[in-house]
């Protein structure tokens, strides 16, 4: 459903992404893994139409993100931070996002309930903890009950209970036939969550396949990851 095809991105003379290609499929959780600065966020930002690629394409069901008819129903995006202005309340933030998608107000209450933020809905985002900010971002992403979820480092800033919650939640999304693409630099946390794995290092995809294929003969995903990326001198 999400198809990244030969993406290259330069910033000045720096090569951020080089010929990055992979797919995230329906009904599966795809882990996009790599060390910090490997190009994960850059790839996701291009997929979401936030950054422009130097060459290559990133398509959602065959269409560029910016051309999607109903973006909130197609892709829910959770990038770093809350994605909300600190002086608005959580509910006010969700209200304007809902308005943009023509989504009824009662759905705002539903997603607040879902991410367990109902009690803090009238508080200003500036007073939220890191974890609450992340949950607000997830609530906004879920407003349109999207076919795909794209999450950049979703477990950053979450406590162990929160990590467990999001793992279960993402597995359920995939089990219901949705597409989940998440990036992370934490390999150990993810081996129980992902079906497919794409490993990126220094702007290039160094391996991709099912979890079993990537782990192969090694003890776990983490070992496989370091075996695949250490040769390039990190």
């Amino acid at each position: 459903m999400l198809k990244i095809d030969r993406l290259t991105k330069r910033r000045g003379s720096a090569l951020i992404l080089s010929d990055v290609s992979f797919e995230a499929r329906r009904g599966r959780v795809t882990g996009f893994l790599g060390p910090n600065g490997a190009g994960k966020s850059s790839t996701l930002r291009i997929l979401l139409g936030l950054d422009h690629p130097t060459s290559g394409t990133a398509l959602v069901d065959g269409v560029r993100f910016a051309a999607l008819r109903d973006p909130l129903a197609k892709v829910g995006a959770v990038l770093d931070g809350s994605g909300a202005h600190r002086s608005r309340t959580g509910r006010a933030h969700l209200n304007w996002v809902a308005a943009a998608g023509g989504i009824p107000r009662r759905r705002v209450d539903e997603v607040l309930e879902l991410v367990e933020l109902s009690g803090a809905a009238r508080k200003r985002v500036g007073g939220y903890s890191l974890g609450m900010g992340r949950r607000l971002a997830l609530a906004a992403a879920l407003l349109g009950d999207p076919e795909a979820l794209v999450l950049d480092e979703p477990i950053n800033g979450l406590d162990p209970e929160g990590i467990r919650w999001i793992r279960t939640f993402l597995r359920e999304r995939a089990a219901a036939g949705h597409t989940v693409l998440l990036s992370s630099h934490l390999m150990g946390e993810l081996s129980e969550t992902v079906d497919d794995v794409v490993i990126i290092n220094r702007g290039r995809v160094v391996a991709q396949g099912t979890l079993a294929e990537i782990t192969g003969a090694r003890r776990n995903l983490e070992d496989a990851f370091f075996a695949l990326t250490s040769g390039s001198g990190r």
Binding site: G83, H85, R88, A92, H93, W96
Partner: protein
């Protein structure tokens, strides 16, 4: 108007009205303007200051509030990564940018009408006279039009600069230092957005301030707005968010 456009204007309006900075700015501007109207009304010679003069003179100062409004409406997108949320919900950038400016123009027009009306009413009480209805309506229309265009120009500049302090500093230097200095020295200053629009809100202006008729002045300011919006839209489309 397409389905998206209408929804997105609604979303941008919801966004603008739920930002405390916009209410505070509008309210502060209203209070400051009324107080200035009282001061101007009281300071005038008996029989020499008309209600409209005292009621409209504050616009020269209270336009600061509308400049702040325009800047903050745009630069607040860059706080907390809100712009990413905006662009994943409303990914067609030209439409989104214009939707924001339309909602801002509506807000600014409403705030300007209330502010100018209140200033004229307060000035009337202090001076102990009344403006004729036609004069008052003309004064409110011209001043509110000028303030709305100034808000839009400020928003477009802020969208190009993307940062609150540099955008605000540049605009304030233009409107309060460079503009007044230039208009005393050079003829081209007649066509700068502050000087050109002067008679829109202060019909009695003289010298270069009075060089353009209110309608010509309005057309010149509008041209500046169109130019700035065109540049900001192009920049917004091309840049990485």
């Amino acid at each position: 108007m397409s389905h998206d456009t209408r929804r997105w204007i609604h979303a941008e309006t919801t966004k603008l009205w739920s930002l405390p900075a916009t209410h505070l700015t509008a309210l502060g501007t209203l209070v400051a303007s009324a107080m200035l109207a009282i001061a101007f009304g009281a300071a005038g010679r008996p029989g020499g200051t008309t209600v409209l003069d005292a009621g409209l003179a504050p616009v020269g100062y209270t336009q600061v509030g509308f400049i702040i409004l325009g800047v903050v409406a745009v630069t607040s997108e860059y706080s907390g990564g809100q712009l990413r949320t905006t662009l994943t919900a409303m990914p067609r950038r030209t439409t989104q940018h214009l939707a924001k400016l339309v909602s801002l123009a509506q807000f600014a027009l409403l705030a300007a009408v209330i502010t100018v009306l209140a200033s004229i009413v307060v000035a009337g009480v202090v001076v102990g006279d009344q403006a004729s209805l036609t004069e008052a309506l003309r004064g409110i229309g011209g001043a509110a039009g000028y303030l709305t265009l100034t808000t839009l120009l400020s928003a477009a500049v802020a969208a190009i600069v993307r940062r609150t302090i540099p955008a605000l500093a540049g605009l304030l230097v233009h409107y309060f230092i460079a503009g007044p200095l230039l208009r005393d020295r050079t003829d081209f200053a007649t066509y700068l957005p502050d000087t050109a629009g002067y008679r829109m809100w202060f019909p009695g202006a003289t010298g270069r301030l009075g060089a353009l008729s209110p309608l010509t002045g309005a057309a010149v300011v509008l041209a500046w707005v169109v130019l700035a919006v065109a540049v900001s839209t192009t920049a917004f489309r091309r840049r990485d968010a």
